[in-house]
Symmetry: C2
């Protein structure tokens, strides 16, 4: 049954007024350095609850890093944060988490707040809106102030000064196109979420490049752009179906679009993979038990978290100031949402 120790108790013990204790402990003027020190010692003896202010002033090490996620509803961050937590906890670090919610203004508020609260470094997945609006100036400012920053998942491609951990987004889509072409698909579409986001724009570039490279027909109608909010995925798929213009396969560009494509197909009586093959993005546990099990592009999400936080601690503790750009490979996990059109053909030949 610990009694709460108040500044009144400290005042009694030290034989001074409550106001003096308050001034002494809060670093305010009006009390001599000698007395301040004495009061601090009494407070410690009594087990007065330390507060963050006192601690950070004393050590100037908050042992805290700030993490900005762009949309806390995205299960991507569950594995990412597990990777981060894994590295930080073992090194005695904690993290503050904030959700920018794909909103540049919110991102700025949180970034400023984190720095004002004395984080030792920042892990961020920056927002960029359709019109090119972003918080890049704020990141630049922090960089110049010497605040360690590692960008993860997303980066500012033209800003070479920032360290980052991303995947090879373009290559992930090119790999998917090669996989689909090998399975006999020529008519391939891609469904994208919000325009402007770094990863989404890169994946679109990969699609355009890949189609050229592999000599695949490229039709603007097969590109679902800006599929946000949710019903847009259904609407786009319905439009293709109504116009009898369905490609044989569609590549999703995140886990949300993957699920929306599957449920929209179900509602529209489109059989996966017979009528339409789907290449998912992100390997969530449910991909195994969705009907049909989803073939997908798997990002090494846990590893992104581990590497980004290890890099950040390196910057904080060993002054690694050179920008490092880590680019990880995605891989394809094969399940049953993609039809092998070659087999269909050979079947016809045989009979």
């Amino acid at each position: 049954m610990t009694k709460k120790i108040t500044i009144k108790d400290i005042a009694e013990r030290a034989g001074v007024s409550v106001a003096t204790v308050s001034r002494a402990l809060s670093g305010k003027p009006g009390v001599s350095d000698q007395l301040r020190k004495e009061i601090q010692i009494k407070a410690e003896e009594l087990g007065y609850l330390k507060n963050s202010a006192a601690i950070s002033l004393k050590t100037s090490k908050s042992k805290t890093i700030g993490v900005i996620v762009s949309d806390i509803r995205n299960p991507f961050f569950l594995d990412f944060l597990t990777g981060v937590d894994n590295v930080l906890f073992s090194r005695g670090y904690k993290f503050l988490l904030s959700n920018s919610d794909e909103n540049v203004e919110k991102e700025k508020v949180y970034l400023n707040w984190m720095v004002e609260h004395g984080v030792e470094g920042i892990l961020a997945s920056p927002v960029s809106e359709k019109d090119g609006k972003s918080s890049v100036n704020l990141y630049r400012k922090f960089y110049k102030l010497g605040i360690p920053i590692v960008l993860y998942d997303r980066t500012f491609p033209k800003e070479t000064q920032f360290s980052s951990v991303t995947i090879d987004n373009k290559d992930s889509i090119i790999q998917a196109l090669i996989y689909l072409k090998n399975k006999g698909h020529e008519n391939i579409g891609i469904f994208l979420s919000k325009s402007g986001i770094y990863t989404i724009e890169e994946r679109l570039k990969g699609f355009i490049e890949g189609c050229k490279l592999l000599n695949l027909p490229f039709k603007e109608e097969w590109i679902g752009r800006d599929l946000y909010p949710e019903e847009m995925t259904y609407n786009k798929l319905k439009e293709l179906l109504d116009k009898k213009n369905l490609p044989t396969a569609i590549i999703a560009t995140n886990n949300k679009i993957t699920k929306l494509l599957v449920s929209a197909s179900r509602k529209l009586n489109i059989n996966i993979p017979k009528d339409l093959s789907i290449m998912g993005y992100d390997d969530l546990p449910e991909n195994e038990i969705i009907s049909p099990p989803i073939t997908c592009i798997k990002q090494p999400v846990f590893e992104i978290g581990r590497i980004a936080s290890t890099m950040l601690l390196g910057k904080i503790n060993d002054n690694f100031s050179e920008p490092t750009k880590v680019i990880l490979k995605a891989e394809i996990i094969e399940r049953k949402s993609i039809q092998d059109l070659n087999k269909k053909v050979s079947h016809f030949i045989k009979t």
Copy 2:
């Protein structure tokens, strides 16, 4: 192109040594109160980056609350945190998030750390281990220190002093049993995750009470206890199958067990719902597209987040000190993972 303002710049402007500026700004002794004030003013004029210490000392309001989640890999927290973020951001509050990882020691480290970092209040889902070990003493201490706390999802049932937002866990399972009985099921099992956790123990109690109440046969073998790690769900189901002792329906007690039950059934060639009906727990978006779509017990997760954070802000800003216990109802979302055994019977009668 903002230049980073260092203490050197402040020293130059104030005409004193760097060491003096450092002492003055960090609240250390060795500098007069008058000079300290002058240096602080110069620092502010130059736009020296404020740190958290300075800010919290000045305002004593950190406008920050601490959130402890028990396992960041659980998608439950995605909706919960969206609800929290929703309330806090609009009221100018931010949150620190920490993951106790179902580990009492880790929970203590984080709780202490949050309080030391000056959070104005705490939202926590406390850990309790199999042997009854928990951080309840630390919560009691914080309560006595007057730190506003709201427990969510889990609570300490014997500690009436804490405010909490939970669902009626027992009732959720009784509802599920009634639903299953109405569909003609008599032989019903339940698969539980880690023992000791508040919600899991309550759900087990609901199962035992419900079986009595509804006059259902109760077999210890149909209870899967402590299904952790993952392969335990598969092993338990296989054991029941091998012994030809499968119940007609199994109730899962969280979203992880739900998914594991579906994938284990698939591996064991158990058809859902023909050979086995499954009542899932938690309504995740993928429940719609899993094969078969999962009938489940839906917790109002987003609402838990909204209500818990609103209550906490009430405690912080309006000094609501009376403990409030909010208990929300779960509901059943009907899909296709439960067979109607009555229909099967009537079919036989007709022919």
